[in-house]
């Protein structure tokens, strides 16, 4: 079974609803991951704020973070990093995973963490 792993920046929720403004890229990405999982891919999502052990256990991920925190999110397929600093679109995810996805989509740059640090949500 193909495995997709996402290393998110420290944030309080993965849909992005708890920032000062909703980041539509995060909302769409959460929905796209859901779709990917439905296609039979094992999806794992790690949040730096709550699952630092997953980051610490992966030397390649640590190396990226040392180069800059803007490398997050890191997306890996079967242990190989396939993208950094961007939430891939459904179309791009499908391409990386060799899935068929008819509806074209456009990639959006990652808009920082979903949740402002002291917004009261985290």
């Amino acid at each position: 079974m193909t495995k997709l792993e996402v290393y998110d920046p420290a944030m309080c929720c993965s849909t992005g609803i708890c920032g000062p403004e909703v980041d539509p890229a995060l909302v769409a990405f959460a929905a796209d991951l859901n779709w990917v999982a439905e296609q039979g891919i094992a999806v794992q999502r790690y949040n730096l704020g709550t699952e630092p052990q997953e980051f610490a256990a992966n030397p390649a991920v640590i190396k990226e973070m040392e180069a800059g925190m803007d490398r997050l999110p890191i997306i890996a397929v079967d242990g190989h990093i396939v993208s950094t600093g961007v939430y891939l679109s459904r179309d791009q995810l499908a391409a990386k995973l060799g899935l068929v996805q008819p509806k074209p989509r456009i990639a959006v740059a990652a808009g920082g963490s979903c949740c402002s640090p002291k917004s009261g949500c985290c």
Partner: protein
């Protein structure tokens, strides 16, 4: 009887800020200890003054109270608890993850919600895990002001529900994901609270309509949570020893009317009445006096020394009116009269021909009641959390939900049910209201101290976040903190009473504001018996005790001071 009767091992005191929860819980604890029990008093209030009332420096573990064998107390400082929680989560990764990663993790653990949960965690340990308090015959919780208390009490069921129904996995529990492991402990906490054989909840109120209304609201909410073993403790009851003094008569009448008009649900509860004392309630001797059966007779007073007292509101209002527009925020602990003063200032500005909006973020306030009738040119609004949350949800679903399929939309809706949505929604409303101050006057009767600080803290986080993201933000949000810090735009008025604890707490508030870069415009010393001119022996003695506090405020704490005489609310 002067103190509530105690039939259970665990006692909670709850009520509007300033009604005397700390004094009553300490007096009750002291009485139980003096009857031979081992008693632990616990405060979870971030602005706790338990140390001051008991005269002993406290920590997060039980400390024996000097001069009261069998009496112990501990103070849970939610911020310290949050720090420990943060260290537990982040500490193991120092030196393993890059410094920037550590910093971004720490940021996630610095928010209001982490503080709240960390405090609750401590509270659940005491209540839900019998081992930690096994040595005590009674455990008394001097809880934080009502809104905070209720949040604390409703959290277990809210979060249990949330954890149970959450299917998305990585949902908005975020940094508090560790909570899931505590489920059993929280369930035990809720069970203890609702068990009438284990827990008594004491609703503390002053004999005043607004405090009684608040107590009734709390009673209703607790009943919904399944908490039924309730008592009513009326604190500060007063009847003039002899008629003839206008102030004493008005105070007697107000108390009588408030009790006569008490909501039926409260009137049915077992009740205790603690009389108004001629002195404060700091120190063990004063606490013992609270449980005494007789009202102490004050000694005769010496003639009043010559004093120059600060003036009333008029000079302050004149100075504010000269600016033509801006935001006026009344801040202070609950119960000091922020709502009444905000309304008085708003009405005075309106009468001078200005366009004024009077608004509150305090869910417990009754701003409308404070403005007697309609005043032309004055708009009264309330930031209603429920409505703000509903609006925010609709907005998010309209904006982000449109492009999603059914599964994505369901996931988004689920996240919108999380506890953080309310904070965000209310905050946006606050920013919008402050924005109104660029054209006319906006008078904000803000929420009690702790919450207010969190609000400003949130403003700070917003400010930082806003300066580094390209997100599509309303101007009102972007300019909020600079406006709150601009003394020509925002005038902060600290409201206090001329008593030890309120002045002490107002000083802490002033320090907190200083850290946020905000310098108050003036202090208002409210409800002064000294300025009222009463000749009633008990009230005059209380008035005499105000002098050092009034002097301290006007000489060393504030650039401008207004002193407002005690008035019956009917004429205020």
């Amino acid at each position: 009887m002067a103190l509530p009767t105690v039939g259970t091992r665990i006692l909670f005191f709850t009520g509007k800020g300033g009604v005397g929860k700390t004094s009553l819980s300490c007096a009750t604890g002291l009485a139980l200890a003096e009857a031979g029990g081992q008693v632990l008093i616990v405060s979870t209030d971030p602005a706790s003054n338990l140390d001051e009332v008991l005269g002993t420096a406290l920590t997060a573990t039980p400390t024996a109270i000097a001069g009261a064998p069998g009496l112990f107390a501990l103070n849970i400082d939610p911020e310290a608890a949050a720090f420990v929680y943060k260290e537990r989560m982040v500490g193991p990764y120092r030196g393993i993850l890059p410094a920037a990663a550590i910093a971004s993790m720490e940021e996630q653990f610095s928010g209001a919600c982490t503080v709240e949960i960390a405090a609750f965690d401590e509270f659940a340990k005491l209540l839900g895990d019998p081992g930690t308090t096994a040595a005590f015959d009674h455990v008394i919780f001097d809880t934080a002001p009502t809104g905070h208390t209720l949040r604390l009490l409703t959290l277990p069921s809210a979060w249990t529900e949330f954890i149970a129904s959450s299917t998305g996995g990585a949902s908005c529990l975020g940094p508090l994901a560790g909570l899931e492991k505590q489920k059993a402990l929280y369930a035990a906490t809720v069970a203890q609270l609702a068990d009438p054989a284990v827990t008594t909840l004491v609703l503390v109120s002053r004999p005043e309509p607004s405090a009684l209304r608040e107590a009734e609201r709390t009673r209703g909410e607790l009943a919904e949570l399944g908490v039924s073993n309730l008592r009513l403790a009326l604190n500060g009851t007063f009847a003039a020893a002899q008629p003839g003094d206008a102030i004493a008569d008005a105070m007697t009448e107000r108390g009588r009317a408030a009790l006569a008009g008490m909501p039926a649900g409260l009137a049915r509860l077992p009740r205790s009445e603690t009389p108004l004392l001629p002195q404060g309630t700091v120190g063990l001797a004063s606490l013992r006096a609270m449980s005494a059966a007789d009202i102490p007779v004050p000694p005769s007073l010496d003639p009043l020394p010559p004093l120059v007292l600060p003036g009333g509101l008029e000079a302050l209002v004149a100075e504010i009116a000269a600016a033509g527009h801006g935001v006026i925020m009344t801040m202070g602990k609950g119960g000091v009269g922020k709502t009444t003063l905000a309304a008085a200032i708003a009405v005075a500005l309106t009468r001078q021909g200005h366009s004024v909006t009077l608004s509150t973020t305090d869910p417990a306030a009754h701003v409308r009641d404070a403005v007697a009738g309609e005043v032309a040119g004055l708009t009264v609004t309330r930031i209603d959390p429920e409505r703000e949350v509903a609006d925010y949800r609709d907005e998010v679903l309209a904006k982000a939900g449109g492009s999603l399929d059914a599964a994505g939309r369901a996931m988004l809706e689920e996240d919108l049910r999380s506890p953080c949505t309310e904070e965000i929604a209310v905050f946006r409303a606050f920013a919008r209201t402050v924005d109104g101050g660029k054209d006319g006057f906006v008078v904000l009767d803000t929420a009690p101290t702790g919450h207010t600080i969190l609000l400003l803290d949130a403003a700070e986080a917003y400010h930082r976040e806003v300066s580094r993201t390209q997100a599509d933000l309303p101007d009102a949000v972007r300019s909020l903190l600079p406006r709150l810090r601009d003394p020509a735009f925002t005038r902060t008025l600290i409201v206090t009473l001329a008593e030890a604890t309120p002045v002490h707490e107002a000083e802490r508030l002033q320090q907190d504001l200083a850290r946020a870069g905000i310098a108050p415009f003036a202090w208002i010393v409210n409800q002064s018996l000294l300025a009222s001119g009463t000749a009633d022996p008990l009230l005059a003695q209380r008035g005499r005790a105000e002098i050092p506090f009034i002097e301290r405020v006007s000489r060393s704490l504030s650039p401008r001071t207004a002193l407002i005489p005690w008035r019956s609310p009917a004429t205020a």
